[in-house]
C-alpha cells in the first residue's frame, strides 16, 4: 500500500494531541497530521460538561468542551490538518502508521510520531468483584458518556465504588438528574479524587463518602438488585461480620484509569510497570527514537491543564530529533525512592531543564520531596499537604546535575 510521507503524525486528538500540534506548528513544524477516531476533536473532554477545567492554564474555570475548544480553535486558525473518524490500527517502530476509515485503509510514514491516545478505565473484570454479572454495572466514564453524550439515563438508585474524580463528578451528575446516590465507597482510608471534588460533588449534595469499605458482592442475575459492602482492614482485606447490603439498580465504578497501551506496545516502546505507560526521557521521547508520548497515554493526570503543558514541553524534543541534534545526548536514570508511586520521566538528559512528575503513596502533611544524586540532595520541594490524588512536579534546572550518575526521587 502507498505510504504518505509526513513530518509528524499525532495519534489522538484530545488535549494532549491538540496542544502538541499547536506547539509544533509554532516551532515551524507544519507538515503535521492529527488522527482522531471520534467524529470530533477534543478527546474525553467532550463528555466532561462540568466546569473546573483550565484554572492553571487559563486562570479561569471552563467546562471540558470549552477547554478543548480553545485548542481546537488554535488548530483551525493555523489550518493544521486533522482527520477524524479514523482509527489507527498499528504503529511500527519504523514510524509506519496504519489506520482505517470509511474511505479505506491509510498508511503514513512519519519522521516523528506523537502518541496521545489517552487512557481507558479499569473494569469490574480487572477488579474481580465477586458475585453475579447483571446489567447495571457501569464504569464512571461510560455512565458519563451515556448521560452527557447519548441522553440516556443509566439508573435510579446508585452506589458508587471508588472515589476517583470521575466517580465523584458522576455522583453529583446523577443526583442532579434525579437519581438517588446511596453513597460513595472507597477501599482506601482517604478519598482518591481531588479535595475540591469531594467538597463540591459530595458534601454539597449530602452524599455520604464511606472510607475503608469496598463492594464484596454483586447481586442480581438480570438487572442489578443490590451490593454487599464490607469494611476492610489496613491490608485492604475485608473484615468478616461487617457486611452490609445496599439495594440498588446501578453500580458505578471509578476505580482507576490505565494508559491506552495497545499501539505503544505494537511500536515496541518499553512500558513502565508503575505508570503503565511508556518509559520516556526529558523530552518525552520513548525508548523508540522519534516516538514521543504525552498526556494520559503516558501517565494518568489529575488535571487536564498539566496534560496540555506536558504536550507543549514535548515539542522541543521533536524538533531536536527532526534536526538530528539529539544524537549525542547522554541519558541518566531517574529512580523511584520511598514514599512515591511513580516518577516520570524515567530518564533525563544532562544539561537540560527537566520537569519531574510524581505522586505520593499516601496523604501526608509537611513533607519534603528530595531529588538526590549520589546521595547528595540536588533539589527539594516542601509540600504542606501531599495527596495521592494530586500530581506533584519539580523542575530541575539545566545545571543542577553534577554527574552522570542516576538520580533518586523520594519523600524525605
Amino acid at each position: 500500500m502507498n505510504e504518505t510521507l509526513k513530518q509528524v503524525v499525532i495519534v489522538g486528538g484530545g488535549p494532549a494531541g491538540l496542544a502538541a500540534a499547536v506547539a509544533l506548528y509554532d516551532m515551524g513544524i507544519k507538515d503535521l497530521l492529527i488522527i482522531e477516531r471520534e467524529k470530533k476533536l477534543g478527546g474525553i473532554l467532550r463528555q466532561c460538561i462540568h466546569d473546573g477545567f483550565g484554572m492553571t492554564r487559563f486562570k479561569e474555570s471552563l467546562s471540558g468542551p470549552e477547554y478543548a475548544d480553545r485548542f481546537i480553535q488554535e488548530v483551525k486558525k493555523r489550518k493544521i490538518p486533522y482527520i477524524t473518524e479514523t482509527t489507527v490500527l498499528e504503529i511500527t517502530n519504523e514510524h509506519v502508521i496504519r489506520a482505517a476509515s470509511k474511505e479505506g485503509l491509510h498508511t503514513w510514514k512519519a519522521d516523528g510520531v506523537v502518541l496521545s491516545m489517552g487512557c481507558r478505565e479499569r473494569t469490574r473484570g480487572a477488579l474481580q468483584i465477586p458475585g453475579e454479572r447483571p446489567a447495571g454495572v457501569y464504569t464512571a466514564g461510560v455512565a458519563q458518556s451515556y448521560i452527557n453524550l447519548y441522553n440516556t439515563m443509566v439508573g435510579k438508585n446508585v452506589v458508587i465504588l471508588g472515589s476517583g474524580d470521575i466517580g465523584l463528578i458522576m455522583a453529583r451528575r446523577l443526583t442532579l438528574e434525579g437519581a438517588k446516590v446511596e453513597g460513595v465507597f472507597e477501599i482506601l482510608p482517604y478519598p482518591s479524587g481531588l479535595e475540591r471534588n469531594v467538597e463540591q460533588c459530595l458534601n454539597d449534595f449530602e452524599i455520604p463518602l464511606h472510607l475503608s469499605r469496598t463492594v464484596t458482592k454483586i447481586h442480581g442475575g438480570k438487572r442489578l438488585e443490590g451490593v454487599t459492602v464490607s469494611e476492610v482492614d489496613e491490608n485492604m482485606e475485608m473484615i468478616p461480620g461487617t457486611e452490609k447490603y445496599y439495594p440498588c439498580d446501578t453500580l458505578v465504578l471509578s476505580v482507576g484509569l490505565i494508559p491506552e497501551n495497545e499501539l505503544s506496545k505494537m511500536a515496541g516502546v518499553e512500558l513502565d510497570p508503575r505508570t503503565k505507560g511508556p518509559v520516556v526521557d526529558t523530552n518525552y521521547q520513548t525508548t523508540i527514537p522519534g516516538i514521543f508520548a504525552a498526556g494520559n497515554v503516558l501517565h494518568v493526570h489529575d488535571l487536564v491543564d498539566y496534560v496540555s503543558l506536558e504536550a507543549e514541553r514535548l515539542v522541543k524534543g521533536v524538533v531536536a530529533y527532526l534536526n538530528s541534534e539529539d544524537e549525542k545526548k547522554t541519558l541518566i536514570d531517574v529512580n523511584l525512592g520511598d514514599g512515591l508511586t511513580y516518577v516520570l520521566p524515567q530518564k533525563i538528559a544532562l544539561n537540560q531543564e527537566a520537569v519531574i512528575s510524581m505522586r505520593v503513596k499516601r496523604p501526608q502533611e509537611n513533607i519534603r520531596i528530595l531529588v538526590r544524586q549520589e546521595g547528595k540532595i540536588i533539589n527539594s520541594k516542601c509540600i504542606e499537604e501531599a495527596l495521592p490524588a494530586e500530581m506533584i512536579q519539580i523542575t530541575l534546572d539545566a545545571d543542577s546535575l553534577w554527574s552522570n550518575k542516576a538520580l533518586e526521587v523520594s519523600v524525605g
Binding site: M1, R37, E85, T87, L89, R98, A100, S101, K102, E103, G104, L105, R120, E121, T123, R124, G125, A126, Q128, P130, G131, E132, R133, P134, A135, G136, T139, G141, V142, S145, Y146, I147, L149, Y150, N151, T152, M153, V154, G155, K156, E177, T216, K217, I218, G221, K222, R223, D249, E262
Partner: protein
C-alpha cells in the same frame, strides 16, 4: 400457527444440533427456548474443548459419541464457519501415581478409539508447551478448542435457514397429551401443539421429563468457575493443559481460546440455585493457586473477566448416572428424551443429535427434503483480514472502515450484521457473542454505548427496551431529559 410436527424444548448446542439434523426432513419444526438467545446456559459456559474421548468409561455412549464427534469436527466447523483449532492437549503429571493413572487413562482411551494418544517425557512436553510445569504427560493430538458461541449459533442459524422456527422467551411450563396423540405445550409466550416432543432442555431436562410423565430422574448441581485472561498471555499457551484426572472430575485446567485469550477453571462448588452464576472471591483465589502449579503465568494484572457454568450431576433409580440418556420410551409415544447431557456434550452434540433424530425417523419415516443446505457463513471479520483484504472490504462496504470495538477491532459492518442476525436475537450479549465486541480487555468501555445506540436505531427500540442478556435485564431507565 403454533402447530408443529416437532417441538424441541431447549435451544442449547444439543437442541440446535437436533434442529439442524431434523431440518433435512419435510417436517414443520419449532424450538422453544426460555432465554432470549441460544447459548446462555451450559453451551455458553464451559471449557470450549473438543475432547479426545479417553476420559469416559469403556462401552458408554459418552465414550463412543465423543470420539465420533471429535474426529468428525473439522467437517461441521467448515460447514458452519466455526472457529476451531485442533491444538492437541496434554494431561500433566509428576508422581509415580500420576504415571499409573495416565497409563490407565491411555489404555481406556485406546479401547474407546481415541486416536494418537502418547505418553511423553519432560523434554517432549516442554517442546509442546514450553511454559508448563511437570515431569511427563499424556498427549492427545486430536483434542482441540472451538468457539462454543459460534458453534451453537451456527447450528441454530443453519437450522433456521433450513426452515426451523426458533421461539425465544418461551419457557415450557406444561406438556399435556391430547386425545389425537399429539401434545399441547404451555409456555410463557403462548400455547403450542406438536405431534412430537424432543426434550433437550439441559439443566431443565429433569423437569421436562416429569412433564412428559417420565419421573425417574433427579439432578444435583455444582458450579464451576473460570477466570478469563488477557490476550497478552495467549501466546504462552499453545494447547489446553490439564492435570491428571481424578475419578470425579477433570480438574482445574488452563485452556487457550480460539481467539487467543486463556481461561482458568473450573472448580466445583455444590449449589442449589440453577440461576446464580456468581463467582466468589475464594473460588478465584483457589483457581489461581491450583492452576499456577501447572502453569505459573497467571497474574492479576491479566484478569479481564470471570464466568461460571452449572455442572449437573444426574441420578436415576440406580444412583449416579454415568452416561448420556437418549431415549424414546414406549409408554410416552412420540417423544425423544435427552437427560444427562453433561461434558463432553459440546464435542458430542452432532452424534447425539443424529441418535435422537434416528428415534423419530425410525418411527415417523418422514421424507427427506429435495435440498438441504449444510452451510452457514459468518460475516467477514475485519480483524482476521489481511491489509489488502481490509482495503477491499472497506471499498465494498464503508462500514468496515468504522471501528466500533477498539480491543478486538470489530467494525460497524460486523455489528450491524449481528444486530440483524437470522434468529432475531435483540440483546447486547447476543451482539457480543456474535462479534466479540465488548469481550476484550476494556470490556465495552469504548464500544458499548455505540452498540446500544445502533441497536436502538436499527431495531426501533425505545431506550428502556435495550436488554443486556436475559429478560428483565434492562440496561437503561430512560432518557436523561
Amino acid at each position: 400457527m403454533n402447530n408443529y410436527d416437532v417441538l424441541i424444548v431447549g435451544g442449547g448446542v444439543i437442541g440446535s444440533a437436533i434442529a439442524r439434523e431434523l431440518s433435512h426432513y419435510q417436517l414443520k419444526i419449532g424450538v422453544l427456548e426460555k432465554n432470549p438467545d441460544v447459548c446462555l446456559e451450559m453451551s455458553g459456559r464451559n471449557s470450549a474443548v473438543i475432547h479426545g474421548g479417553f476420559a469416559y468409561e469403556v462401552g458408554t455412549q459418552k465414550a463412543a459419541l465423543c470420539v465420533e464427534g471429535c474426529l468428525e469436527f473439522d467437517k461441521v466447523a467448515k460447514e458452519l464457519d466455526v472457529p476451531f483449532k485442533r491444538t492437541g492437549k496434554v494431561l500433566v503429571g509428576n508422581t509415580p501415581e500420576d504415571m499409573e493413572s495416565l497409563k490407565q487413562t491411555m489404555a481406556i482411551g485406546e479401547i474407546n478409539g481415541a486416536v494418537g494418544l502418547e505418553l511423553i517425557d519432560e523434554k517432549r512436553l516442554k517442546e509442546l508447551v514450553p511454559t508448563v510445569e511437570g515431569k511427563f504427560a499424556m498427549y492427545s493430538p486430536m483434542s482441540g478448542i472451538l468457539d462454543p458461541f459460534q458453534y451453537t449459533i451456527g447450528l441454530a442459524e443453519n437450522a433456521a435457514k433450513n426452515g426451523v422456527k426458533f421461539n425465544f422467551n418461551s419457557e415450557v411450563t406444561g406438556i399435556n397429551p391430547k386425545e389425537d396423540g399429539s401434545y399441547g405445550v404451555e409456555t410463557k409466550s403462548g400455547s403450542y401443539t406438536a405431534k412430537w416432543i424432543i426434550n433437550a432442555a439441559g439443566l431443565g431436562a429433569v423437569k421436562i421429563s416429569e412433564m412428559l410423565g417420565i419421573g425417574r430422574y433427579e439432578m444435583g448441581a455444582t458450579r464451576g468457575h473460570y477466570i478469563v485472561l488477557d490476550k497478552n498471555v495467549g501466546h504462552l499457551l499453545p494447547m489446553p493443559v490439564y492435570p491428571v484426572p481424578s475419578t470425579s472430575y477433570m480438574g482445574i485446567h488452563v485452556t487457550p481460546t480460539v481467539e487467543g485469550n486463556v481461561t482458568v477453571g473450573p472448580d466445583a462448588d455444590r449449589v442449589q440455585s440453577l440461576e446464580d452464576y456468581g463467582v466468589e472471591k475464594r473460588n478465584m483465589e483457589y483457581l489461581v493457586e491450583d492452576a499456577s502449579t501447572l502453569w505459573p503465568h497467571i497474574h492479576r494484572t491479566d484478569f479481564i473477566r470471570n464466568y461460571a457454568g452449572i455442572q449437573p450431576t444426574w441420578l436415576n433409580r440406580e444412583g449416579i448416572m454415568k452416561d448420556f440418556v437418549i431415549e424414546a420410551r414406549e409408554e410416552v409415544p412420540n417423544t425423544v428424551n435427552l437427560v444427562g447431557i453433561e461434558s463432553p456434550g459440546l464435542t458430542s452434540a452432532l452424534p447425539i443429535a443424529r441418535k435422537a433424530v434416528k428415534h423419530l425417523v425410525d418411527r415417523e419415516k418422514p421424507s427427506l427434503k429435495d435440498y438441504f443446505d449444510p452451510t452457514r457463513e459468518r460475516v467477514r471479520r475485519f480483524s482476521e483480514a489481511t491489509p489488502e483484504e481490509q482495503q477491499e472490504l472497506i471499498l465494498e462496504n464503508p462500514d468496515y472502515g468504522e471501528i466500533i470495538c477498539r480491543c478486538e477491532s470489530v467494525s460497524k459492518a460486523e455489528v450491524l450484521d449481528a444486530i440483524h442476525n437470522p434468529l432475531g436475537v435483540n440483546t447486547m450479549v447476543g451482539i457480543k457473542y456474535r462479534t466479540r465486541s465488548m469481550m476484550g480487555r476494556c470490556q465495552g468501555g469504548y464500544c458499548q454505548m455505540r452498540i446500544a445506540q445502533l441497536l436502538q436505531q436499527e431495531k426501533g427500540l425505545d431506550v428502556t427496551e435495550v436488554l443486556y442478556a436475559r429478560e428483565e435485564s434492562e440496561l437503561f431507565t430512560g432518557r436523561v431529559r
